[in-house]
């Protein structure tokens, strides 16, 4: 079961609503780019026969169904969207509670996620979901293997890599080293339209708004534009010696040499 998040496209202009939430309706939305690597990893495992089926799970507004359709166009079998008005503005904890409750119902051997989301960048959801479900976490895998009743990831260390293993079921996250995500073929896009997609409310996964303390344990109290940096100083159309003198003077001015 690959957990995916719909995020504003990298190039999209982002705005906050009056209550300081990201205006998701205003921005062009895509599958979180790092989740595409998780999808690719899952599909490779299915193609090699290591897993039987690949499903997708997402939490988000109705339009997140588009992200699930796009994932289904890449491959896989079915999809589930958890959507509820209560969930707007969900933080890492609330997101993890919802995904964990949905995963309890779906009961996959592996819940697979991208290593981070493009918009929040906390990388907290995989670990929090593992803790809530009471299963091992295999994180930041540059490869994921399933063999018999256990899963293994290859994970970078300070100066090399380790192979880390845990018994199924697990929550795993993978990096962008697992292999470039495939494009959806026209055939895939057509096939995706016929693949089953379920929509669940919060009640369908046995949670209430009270369980989630609204939708977050955190709140944004201020959103603003970053400080404007002074404009870039350009050195262009001069010889290498002149350029080097200018760089060295600049370094000296800033007390860097």
């Amino acid at each position: 079961m690959v957990c995916i998040k719909q995020v504003p496209a990298t190039t999209a202009e982002k705005r906050y609503t009056a209550d300081l939430r990201l205006d998701r309706a205003a921005a062009e939305a895509v599958i979180n780019p790092l989740d595409e690597y998780a999808i690719e990893q899952a599909l490779r495992l299915q193609e090699s026969g290591a897993v039987e089926s690949v499903g997708y799970l997402s939490m988000g507004p109705d339009q997140a169904g588009e992200a699930l359709r796009r994932a289904l166009a890449m491959g896989g079998d079915d999809a589930t969207l958890v959507t509820d008005p209560v969930l707007a503005g969900a933080d890492a904890w609330a997101t993890a509670r919802v995904l964990a409750a949905a995963l309890d119902k779906l009961a996959p051997d592996v819940a697979l996620m991208g290593m981070a989301s493009d918009d929040a960048r906390g990388s907290l959801v995989p670990g929090a979901v593992a803790a809530l479900r009471g299963v091992p976490l295999l994180s930041y895998g540059s490869e994921l293997h399933i063999e018999g009743a256990s899963a293994r990831v290859r994970r970078l260390t300070a100066d090399g890599y380790d192979i880390i293993e845990a018994p199924l079921p697990v929550v795993a996250s993978v990096t962008d080293q697992v292999g470039e995500p495939r494009y959806a073929s026209l055939k895939g896009i057509m096939a995706a339209k016929r693949k089953p997609m379920e929509t669940w409310s919060l009640a369908d996964i046995g949670l209430s708004a009270d369980d989630l303390h609204g939708s977050a344990l955190t709140r944004v109290v201020e959103a603003r534009k970053p400080e404007v940096k002074p404009p870039t100083e350009r050195v262009e159309g001069v010889g290498a010696d002149e350029a080097v003198t200018r760089i060295a003077d600049w370094l000296a001015q800033r007390k860097l040499i």
Binding site: A92, L217, A240
Partner: protein
């Protein structure tokens, strides 16, 4: 409830990492005079966590002195947090720091923030400042009134300044006994250290980074020379790591290291958003690129249009000449 501030102290090779020392100083700053500063230490060498006293810690709880993924110590960490009940728990924005923070969020139902670029305590409440959406928006956040303590805060490198002239040692205690549970079931079955030492970019105050424009592994040689002249380390973009010119540990960016050196020099790096989020808070950014339209030219402090293979060696010589003076 207490005014104590706790932090996750990562150890490597028998010593506290720079992040552990920065977070110790940061926790001491936030705790002020009234609160204790408690380290939750893990990684090889964590048994010697008393040394964190000089960095700002008053107490240290050892979760595990080993190379296992930090997340296997989740149950012990949760027990320690329940016992200390700090106001905030600072975690380094490293894979192990994030994982341990994340399982605490799940196990204890806690508010989580970050990665943040500033954190302060205002009227007994934690307030964090975070760049979101690829740095296009800065948000200030706090726990809701219903949230339990501690607030879990992921902290970027160089958010806090190391304590100077610190001394003394932290009182060390073993972690409270706890069943490791399912999260403890992950184990290292193979370990493959590199043949040559790999620089830790998070510790470097000067980084010379190479990208696609460097062209080959050999192309990094002049960058290493410049790094040596400036007392820095060599980093890379994802393109250079993917090409196999440098190990992935040197990759800077969204899926690599997030760094904040005093000086970042980008050589043959276009400055795609995925790289930019890993270095945009560097204090001084110099870029050298043949392409006058490279995106890095829009956010560097100094942008030099030219051939890096001509400029970098001359610059190394000039820096050596000026330093020798």
């Amino acid at each position: 409830m207490s005014n104590d501030i706790a932090f996750l102290a990562e150890f490597s090779d028998g010593a506290p990492t720079r992040s552990a020392q920065e977070l110790a100083a940061g926790a001491a700053e936030l705790a002020g005079a009234g609160g204790g500063v408690v380290a939750l230490a893990y990684g090889p060498g964590a048994g010697g966590a008393a040394v964190l006293g000089a960095a700002g810690a008053s107490r240290a709880i050892v979760l595990g002195d080993d190379t296992s993924p930090a997340v296997v110590h989740a149950a012990a960490a949760a027990a320690a947090v329940r016992e200390v009940k700090p106001l905030a728990l600072l975690a380094p924005a490293t894979p192990n720091g994030r994982d341990l923070a994340a399982v605490l969020v799940g196990l204890l139902g806690l508010p989580a923030f970050g990665p943040v670029r500033a954190v302060r305590i205002e009227g007994g409440r934690v307030r964090t400042e975070q760049a979101t959406l690829q740095g296009t928006v800065i948000t200030v956040s706090e726990p809701t009134d219903e949230a339990q303590q501690p607030a879990i805060v992921l902290v970027l490198p160089s958010t806090f300044t190391l304590l100077e002239g610190g001394s003394g040692s932290a009182a060390v205690a073993e972690a409270p006994a706890a069943d490791a549970g399912p999260l403890g079931a992950a184990r290292v079955v193979e370990s493959h250290p590199a043949e040559a030492a790999v620089a830790n970019l998070e510790e470097a105050s000067v980084i010379i980074a190479g990208g696609r424009g460097v062209g080959s592994a050999d192309g990094f040689a002049p960058l290493h020379e410049l790094a040596e002249a400036l007392g820095g380390a060599v980093g890379a973009s994802r393109a250079a790591a993917d090409a196999g010119w440098v190990p992935y540990q040197l990759q800077i960016g969204q899926t690599g290291k997030v760094v904040k050196p005093a000086l970042y020099v980008g050589c043959g790096i276009s400055g795609a958003i995925q790289h930019r989020v890993g270095m945009q808070t560097a204090e001084n950014v110099l870029a050298i690129n043949k392409d006058p339209d490279a995106p890095i030219g829009e956010f560097a402090d100094l942008f030099v249009v030219g051939d890096l293979f001509t400029i970098v060696p001359k610059l190394t010589a000039e820096i050596r000449r000026r330093k020798g003076r």
